[in-house]
């Protein structure tokens, strides 16, 4: 799965050694983060319980790639150069992914304010891809020692989404994004096509 993240972070056909080194370092760092997150969440889970969280992580990666592709098409349609559009889209999607993953942390105070209705804490927990992976690993992530110490969600009344609901959301999201990608890609070639050469002046008959 970390390998699948690599294409998000730049073309391997980059012109300079420096750019390539940056891309490789970024890829390695991203891989390390994913491995650490997986290790933290999966932890001492027996090997036979690994497939579910790994499958969930794969779903997250696929949806991320599709989202990045759509974003790239949109940027190119607006006139951005393809390589720049791809890079911007990659960073946009990656940032969104990390913000969602960390939602239980930075949205904790909001959860506190909305706790009387019960819906805010539940919604925030449901929005985090990290929670989805933990759900698949049968881990109560928000009550583990670190999260319990750093987010108020563990002390509030909320419900985790069901695995089925999360699975359907990712499948539906992937399908929707795939269709969107296809539709957007049809508009990109027109916008990205170089302008027609100027018409050659007609030769006058002698």
């Amino acid at each position: 799965m970390p390998t699948l993240l690599a294409p998000l972070f730049g073309s391997w056909r980059s012109g300079t050694l420096r750019t390539l080194a940056t891309h490789v370092a970024t890829w390695a760092f991203a891989t390390l983060i994913v491995l650490c997150a997986t290790g933290l969440i999966v932890g001492a889970v027996p090997v036979d319980r690994l497939p579910a969280p790994l499958l969930m992580a794969l779903g997250i990666v696929v949806v991320s790639h599709l989202a990045a592709t759509c974003a790239s098409h949109v940027l190119q349609s607006a006139g951005t150069a393809p390589a720049v559009a791809r890079e911007w889209a990659s960073w946009l999607v990656t940032t969104a992914l990390w913000l969602l993953a960390a939602a239980p942390l930075w949205l904790g105070p909001l959860a506190d304010l909305g706790a009387h209705t019960g819906s805010a804490p539940t919604a925030i927990a449901a929005a985090s891809p990290l929670v989805h992976i933990a759900l698949a690993a049968e881990q109560d992530l928000l009550r583990t020692e670190w999260f319990y110490a750093h987010t108020s969600l563990g002390a509030l009344q909320f419900e985790y989404p069901t695995l089925l609901a999360v699975g359907i959301a990712y499948l539906g999201g992937a399908a929707g994004l795939a269709v969107l990608c296809f539709l957007l890609s049809r508009s990109v070639p027109l916008a990205a096509r170089p302008p027609d050469p100027p018409a050659r002046p007609k030769e006058h008959a002698r």
């Binding site: 001492a44 706790a115 109560d140 009550r143 319990y148 110490a149 509030l156 009344q157």
Partner: protein, 360 residues
Amino acid sequence: MKRLALMTLALTLASAPATQAAESMDPQLKEKARRAIDGGLNFLRAQQAEDGSLSKSVGITALALRGFLESHRGYNEADGPFVTRPVEFIVSKVNPDGSISESLQNRSYNTAVALVALAATKNPKYADVIANGQKFLKGHQIDEGEGYQKDHRYYGGVGYGGDERPDMSNLYLAVEGLKATATDPKDPVWEKALVFVNRSQNRSESNDQAWAANDGGFVYMPGWNPPEFGGKTDSYGGMTAAGLISLLFAGVDRNDPRIQSAYQWMTANYTLDVNPGTDAKHGLFYFYNAFAKVMAAYGEDEFTDAKGQKRNWRNELAQKLISLQAADGSWVNADSNKWWENNPQLVTAWTVIALEHIVR
């Protein structure tokens, strides 16, 4: 049958000192407390869903069921659907691993309180469910089975059930569930529990952790309190009550220095306005519930507080709880939403149980 007899004996012995001691309570106040219990039970009955559940939670349903079964009205399954439906709901949530829970995240908590409720039915029909629930709790306790050695600070503890982080609160509930269902006093679960209990007490003579102070009170888990209480290792009321109950139910003698120092902390820091040892109202009703249980189990109606004032905890706690009851018979923590205390069904169930320990 033998198990049922043992359970009945266990429940009787647990309440015996309290029955005698409750005679020191003001009779008029006792009557008001009973009416407050009735009001709370009426509220809970009106809140039940079609399937007898409350908040679709095994835990809250079981606490409410316990409230009905242990009340001065002597309700039992013969009294109607308001008892039988919650029982059916709870039993319908039995899992293959023996836990009794609708969700992963509160498996241990739910199983523990469900065991107490099912034991209170005194119906031998649930003996197998109870036995499997006990097995689950003992298996969930952190020990060599989870790869932890005795020197780890988690050892002997019990958590919520969705992860391995144990805490004093869930341990006390598990201990209460095992005690109410007559778990063998020689079972290793008790000795292991005491390892965790010792490590959660601010008493350096019995706590081998470097952070331990010496005021005798308890913290949430070895070396840590929730951020709501500062995140450090200051003793506070809810956990001191939990720790004291755990010591008593694990069979430690009342004169043991661990119990005496915890009791002294409790009486020296006594207040019903905030969670003792803090200036916050987080977990306040949890404290009221645990405090009533532990003081009833300890067996003293009166004590002298830090200012030299004599206090009758039954009268004072009853007055406090009655004053906080809403017109519809419910209770809720209006000052804090932590640990679900903004849920009137949960808080009413806790408070009814607390009042029942006061008047018993």
